[in-house]
Amino acid sequence: MAQAQASKFKNPVVNWIDSRLPIFTMLDHEYNHYPMPRNVNYLWAFGAIAGIMLVIMIATGLFLAMQYSSHTSLAFDSVERIMRDVNYGWLLRYVHANGASMFFIAVYIHMFRGLYYGSYKAPREILWILGVIIFLVMMGTAFMGYVLPWGQMSFWGATVITNLFSAFPIVGDPIVTLLWGGFSVDNPTLNRFFALHFLLPFVLLGLVILHTAALHVCGSNNPLGIDAKGPQDTVPFNPYVTLKDGFAVVMFLIVFAFFVFFMPNYLGHPDNYIPANPLVTPAHIVPEWYFLPFYAILRAIPDKLGGVIAMFGSIALLLALPWLDTSKVRSCKFRPIYRQFFWILAIDALVLGYAGAMPAEGSWLLIARIGTFYYFFHFLVLLPVLGKLERPLPLPNSISEAVLKGAHAKSMEKA
């Protein structure tokens, strides 16, 4: 007969459960003793922040779904009923709508942190790929969520984005019909988008668990990009990192609260307070701000199919990033030339975002084209070539040595 596993917890109930299902041992191992490099900076908190945003989105979304009607003749009015009549409905909806933006801010900072410190390199390739898939699913979820209030931008955004698939030869039109559930964006579209918008966050949750599991196999990267070699290089996750991440989360929530309570509609578009009307097209159809760089890439290519491929390609190439970057050195700290190109890429992303909000004509179109060219040039040419040519600075022997050395003594206290 199988013996129950021996457990070490003082509480007999916990012990009883743990010897049958070692969930407490697992949590103790992964979140109490999990060794974190002692030199991680506040940029490492954005993973935790993004995770908390996902929980906030699921929690507020659940209660919104209880009040929302996914029928074209009711959707807009049901959202307004939430805003006016449901107890604290305005708070739920503003937290949810602005929460999407804050989620993307956290994830974008998290991704650029990974890019800067080379967190995608061996042995963290699968960790990074899971992250890119999370990003893709997030984009789909956010897009479908924006359709639900059934305002003008909801309707026309849905029309533009779903129509992208029609660019593909042969399979294009059947895909679009399938997405729409008919021959135009209409009630079946809204219904299936609502169903998917409810489902996908739980897919995200599953992916986030896998992402964390993959992280805990090889451990967190750190600003030096070198592996932790023993206990002198790390601190236990709890209480050191829980407190540090906790402080960062509260700071992030302050920014979040500022948007929710004092400028809740700043990141949205006024046209979405006009009910959807298939007969009236808005002057400019713009997606939410977090899609703007990709929208700029889409419009930069003069050919429809080419634009669609470039847009999806710009995200898909991130999947290949661990192999596109040929340098063995992770952190930009020790890559003087690549570091400069990293910042050019960051500026390029902002410029593309700005160009995406502008009408695609004249100089803005030219700027979007230059930005698009640089984006692909950076990943497909610079990264592979630079890894071979660049001479990295000497790496420190260990994290503790670098941290405790005189010049860096202060950075430890801050870190």
Binding site: I105, Y108, M251, V255, F262, Y266, A357, M358
Partner: protein, 253 residues
């Protein structure tokens, strides 16, 4: 700390860019100073009440406000009995009764403001083909919000030389495209305010814009007051977290 600052700054920059990009397509609107602006701003209830009077006597001849229940006006100081009396002045359709017939009954505060036209076609037919937009959300549905409403209401003028208006259209400086079906409706002393405020066109435009801001966002005051408390709480919590974090990490040397 520096990394955090950089992160916040770059996020702020990205947001600023996005916001600027959205705003730049609008015609330049003069900024007004509103008592409800800012973190501590609240809706000027007296102005909103005057604004409601203008809505009732002027705007509601053509514009609906279909999402707003009459009881919402409790938020700008109408008492329960005033709301009941006010509602009783409107007729809404009730029924069917026991004989299966629809009938008209006086409204109650839970009813929404009745619309002036039965449907979009009737509204267009009565307005030279133009559809007067619903006003429930107008303050949030236009770039510039209440600044736009004020500018629009005071922006009617003779068309500049060389501009030919289409039949039945009017010229407005701030309307996109400048030709608008709505006539210059606010006239000096067009309404008589009970509180003795002089009804200039500017005063009326200000008051009705305040009212429309309120109906678009009836929980405006509650939202900002809660926000101040939430942010104060989070600031104190952040201070405690930071102090504990410093103390904990200082033992690591």
């Amino acid at each position: 700390m520096r990394a955090l600052k950089t992160a916040i700054l770059s996020a702020a920059l990205a947001l600023g860019l996005a916001g600027a990009a959205q705003a730049s397509e609008a015609i330049h609107l003069p900024k007004q100073s509103w008592p409800h602006a800012g973190m501590f701003g609240t809706i000027d209830k007296a102005a909103a009440q005057r604004g409601f009077q203008i809505y009732k006597e002027v705007c509601s001849a053509c514009h609906s406000m279909r999402l707003v229940p009459i009881r919402t006006l409790g938020g700008i100081g109408f008492k329960d009995d005033e709301l009941k009396a006010l509602a009783a002045g409107y007729e809404v359709q009730g029924g069917p009764n026991d004989a299966g017939e629809m009938f008209m009954r006086p409204a109650i505060p839970a009813d929404r403001f009745p619309s002036p036209f039965a449907n979009e076609q009737a509204a267009r037919a009565a307005n030279n083909g133009a559809l007067p937009p619903d006003l429930s959300l107008i303050a949030k549905a236009r770039v510039g919000g209440e600044d736009y409403l004020y500018a629009f209401l005071t922006g009617f003028e003779e068309p500049p030389a060389g501009v030919n208006l289409m039949a039945g259209m009017n010229y407005n400086k701030y309307f996109p495209g400048h030709q608008v079906g709505m006539p210059n409706i606010l006239q000096p002393d067009g309404v008589t305010f009970a509180d003795g405020t002089k009804a200039t066109v500017e005063q009326q435009a200000r008051d009705v814009s305040t009212f429309l801001t309120f109906v678009a966002e009836p929980h405006h005051d509650a939202r900002k007051q809660m926000g101040v408390k939430v942010i104060l709480f989070l600031l104190v919590l952040a201070g405690l977290m930071y102090a504990s974090k410093r103390k904990l990490w200082s033992t690591l040397h």
